[in-house]
Subunit: 205 residues, 2 copies
């Protein structure tokens, strides 16, 4: 831990504190706040976890949030589509198989790039991708792509118990709600979001 601390400390004097959160260097700098598609794709690709929401079977249809890890592709093959590694031992996967309605909510706050802004401030960006949470066919090329993306970003997943029957799910996005400054949600269509091209540094091509 102290080695990581020393590394972090050295980085501070070159890049500033905001670029060093939990020992990790951010690969890409924050896009301009008016470039809505770029900002949204940056927020999704830079984050490694969020809250995945489903309609609860056990709690009479309540909206049920759960902490999940995700990946939208390798750094140089980011797609904007969040993939998950879930087990039906957990209510989220069970809920989704019965009712696909879902959303994934991600905050900029854990990235450490919000300065002194409060987590609820519009200056600290937040995005909610709403759509259908569906199982990906385990024998498809998409499943292979998603598993590589997930295991690269979350190496621990490789060792999760085989007996727990983890499977790959994805969120088919139908609506995007993003606030990254004052003035309400940024206008952004799913097409604009998905068609945005990034290079491995998260910069527009």
């Amino acid at each position: 831990m102290k080695t990581k601390g020393l590394y972090c400390f050295l980085v501070l004097f070159f890049l500033g504190f905001e670029d060093c959160v939990q020992g990790r260097l951010l690969a890409a700098s924050k896009p301009d706040r008016d470039a809505a598609a770029a900002y949204a794709r940056w927020l999704v690709s830079q984050n490694s976890w969020g809250i995945l929401n489903t309609i609860s079977i056990e709690l009479e249809g309540a909206p049920f949030g759960n902490v999940v890890s995700f990946s939208d592709g390798l750094p140089d093959k980011s797609t904007g589509i969040p993939y998950f590694y879930l087990t039906t031992l957990d209510p989220t996967a069970r809920n989704a198989l019965q009712d696909h309605r879902s959303s994934l909510t991600i905050s900029e706050y854990p990235l450490g790039t919000c300065g002194k802004a409060d987590p609820e401030s519009p200056v600290c960006a937040k995005i909610t991708l709403t759509g259908r949470l569906v199982l990906v066919d385990a024998n498809s090329e998409e499943a292979e792509f998603a598993q590589t993306a997930l295991f690269t970003k979350h190496p621990e997943m490789k060792g999760w118990p085989k007996g727990h029957d983890f499977e790959i799910f994805k969120l088919e996005i139908e609506d995007i709600f993003m606030i990254n400054w004052f003035g309400g949600p940024k206008p952004l269509t799913v097409e604009q979001y998905l068609n945005y091209k990034m290079n491995k540094f998260g910069v527009s091509l």
Copy 2:
């Protein structure tokens, strides 16, 4: 920023890296994982933000998560009940006024106390409080208590625009889902959670 970095660096060698996240010292150490009520109350009182879920009016009943700040009381008057400062300019408050069903999901990950565990790992705790998201009567003692709690934890809120009509909401908890180790959710009733007493250091009295 460099001063904060230096402060953090010095702290590292006394307390270890996990105790220093975004320049903030954690007030209380993590309770034993088998003390479910203590752990849950620690997780809620130490965190400053989470994802608040409601049933979306605009998105055909989809579960809609939103990043919010909250407080469950002053450090020495923690209640376990999360209070929020919301405006109906935002969909979450509008949704709640029409359908109270709601959940608040919080991760241990941003506290920096999960070591190297993945955010989805059961070793990195997660809690979902499900219940009814309701408006608190603005003229009540409870509203006064909640506003002090919110403004103390989130000083920026004091300056949020009066014209946006922010109001205090609370989650009336009906169910608790918490995972903080292997073996599935920890058995924990709402009564056990609410009746747990903490001192200002988050330690049982």
